[in-house]
Amino acid sequence: MKYLTEFRNGEIAQRMAREIATVATKPWKIMEVCGGQTHSIIKNGIDQMLPAGIEMIHGPGCPVCVTPLELIDKALAIAAQPGVIFCSFGDMLRVPGTDADLFQVKAAGGDVRVVYSPLDAVDLAAKNPDKQVVFFGVGFETTAPANAMSVHIARRRGLKNFSLLVSHVLVPPAIAAILESPGNKVQAFLLAGHVNSVMGYWEYPPVAEKYKIPLVVTGFEPLDLLDGIRRAVLQLEAGKHEVENAYERIVTYDGNQPAQKLLAEVFEVTDRAWRGIGVIPRSGWRLSKTYREFDAEERFQITGIHTVESALCRAGDVLRGAIKPAECAAFGKECTPRHPLGATMVSSEGACAAYYNYGRFLSADELATAGSGLTHA
């Protein structure tokens, strides 16, 4: 698959954008759930290609952004302990806790390491039997199978020095929470294709039915996104509310069954606090009883955490799609990627950081003239 070229063809993209403009007779507000989609939309400028009435609202699907402050403070406390090797995906290192971030803990002598897979952390635990190795397992259903596999393998290998600081969150309850929130503006969703690659989309027809809302399983390349948007608009215009798969090359209805079986064994559903949004009932996973001994929160009994969120930060409103990042008074002033007040300014998938990094604080005129002088290749 030549995804670097085939799904990024500028001419086809322009044609698809024109088709969307043709079929859209009314303004529509569509939310892309996943932070990876937000990143791709902003990076490629897809929002600029859409007709004026089609507005993309950026959803809460950045795992770094919705991880609760309390858990980040716990991570900082665990990582600072002697004898601990604290492993994390790179993005989490810069997320501000109440007083510090993981980079600062590392600078102060904490053994904090970036890994690309939780299985690397399991190997670290096997190689360092005198250390406690903790993996910071955050994310949606996409990252959950690898995290589940890590404790599964740790258990099978009898590793007593590996644990998971886990905060998994789930897409369907988040969609329900957004649709039930007062003043909701979202009229259709692009579902997070990679979540569906694991989970399939059998969970979603009841959601579409209950809330009378179109749900389109969508990929991440520019043409994938435009196709997802096109299908959502077509449904909206036709008054339909179905679950549709615009990412067939990756996603099946049933999803990855062995992964789902492992997830059901390792995790159980729990209430979860979402940073900036609050507690959503039955919206996450924690380790099941069988695997509870690998829960870093049980192993490290961190107490006395008092979290303080920035009073200026409106990340919650951004995550719910109530405001655009630039509508926050602190955006680009007190809050920048260099000094983030909230997590949405940290991760490149966070809506605020994506807006800041790709210049979405500029006026439309400024952006329109920005590329002047260049001929189209």
Partner: protein, 370 residues
């Protein structure tokens, strides 16, 4: 740096030399360390072991008359006129990577800083901070690579120093190089001289060095054919300046922070806007693919053998042809132009034909989660 009177400096040194200070001139390590396969503290002690390093390792690799004098300072003959000076420290991990080592980097990095300033690089210094226990065989390979790189770049390493730190206080080998070069006449090159209308050229594919390093970083290893582009650019830059010297307004080697940082720096220094076209940016497919996997953007990834040129529009084609004729510039491209609009900002036309701002990055580019 403020100049300190020589007498004052000497007095300060003398003050430190009290009865407690050993007699370094006649000092030698009390243990028979000669022949050890690794660096020991004695190698930095100023005694016999240190001299042996110089004699058997550094001198044969760097051989030149100035160094062979083994004086406290190299004495150099430079033509009258303006001289450029630059320094850089190298702490890359791993020390050896596909396409090079810290040795080539240390030479080429300083050579390139001089070259993009419009100078002809002539002489380098080389200082080593070595960690106790560092294998001599590795040091030899690094030093040899430096000698080869220096000869290839036409510069001489004329002075140096070695210090050893205790095990655990360093990361094997750090190198600092400083260099002097002679400025070419008739140039007005500088980061503040880019002008609206200038064409922007890059001498080849971007992101190769950073991704080569990423591919062998502990914990991130992935199989790839990506090699560092580490190279001395002075020959290529001289060819460009010979062909169109007066029309070259700014040059820079986009190392840490990648092309994005370089373009932003020039946009700010020159108070101009920069518009580039992503579709014209040369990026190797394997680099693009690795970036996609790791959630990186090649425009922020480091290069060690590329230069960016800002040239008057009428000279753009000539500079492009000159670059393409040079072995290091075969994949050169015109990637954009300088504009009077959006001053201080870099804006890219995306593959989709929309616009996005390319901002200065904050710290290291972090891999995304998913």
């Amino acid at each position: 740096m403020p100049e300190i009177a020589k007498d004052e400096a000497l007095a300060a040194v003398a003050d430190g030399v009290t009865e407690a200070t050993p007699d370094f001139a006649n000092w030698s390590c009390p243990l028979p360390l000669v022949g050890y396969p690794t660096i020991v503290m004695g190698h930095g002690g100023g005694g016999k072991l240190g001299s042996e390093l110089v004699e058997h390792l550094f001198l044969p690799a760097f051989r030149n008359p100035q160094l062979e004098n083994l004086g406290d300072a190299a004495v150099l003959d430079l033509p009258s006129g303006r001289v450029a000076m630059s320094t850089d420290s190298f702490v890359v991990q791993p020390l050896f990577f596909p396409g090079g080592s810290i040795g080539e980097l240390a030479v080429n990095g300083t050579v390139n800083d001089l070259a993009v300033s419009g100078a002809t690089p002539r002489f380098l210094s080389a200082s080593f901070i070595l960690e106790e226990g560092f294998p001599l065989a590795k040091l030899a390979a690094i030093v040899e690579a430096m000698g080869v790189a220096a000869r290839a770049a036409g510069v001489q390493i004329v002075t140096g120093d070695t210090k050893v730190v205790e095990r655990g206080h360093g990361d094997g080998c750090y190198i600092n190089t400083a260099g002097v070069g002679v400025l070419r006449e008739g140039l007005s090159v500088g980061p503040h001289r880019a002008q609206a209308g200038d064409a922007i050229l890059v001498s080849g594919t971007i992101g190769d060095h950073g991704m080569a390093i990423m591919s062998v970083r502990e914990g991130l290893e992935f199989e790839s054919q990506i090699r560092s582009d580490c190279a001395a650019l002075n020959g290529m830059i001289a060819a460009v300046l010979d062909a169109a010297g007066a029309d070259v307004h700014a040059m820079r080697d986009p190392t840490r922070g990648g092309l994005a940082s370089t373009l932003n720096e020039i946009a700010q220094s020159s108070a101009v806007g920069i518009a580039i076209d992503e579709r014209r940016m040369p990026v190797r497919t394997e680099v693009q693919s690795a970036c996609e996997l790791l959630g990186l953007d090649p425009v922020y990834v480091a290069n060690e053998g590329k230069a960016v040129f800002f040239v008057a529009p009428n000279a753009a084609d000539q500079v492009l042809a000159t670059l393409k004729a040079h072995p290091l510039g075969r994949e050169a491209a015109i990637i954009g132009q300088v504009t009077a609009e959006h001053k201080g900002m870099v804006v890219a036309r995306t593959q989709m034909g929309a616009n996005r701002v390319i901002a200065m990055q904050i710290g290291e580019q972090l891999p995304r989660i998913c």
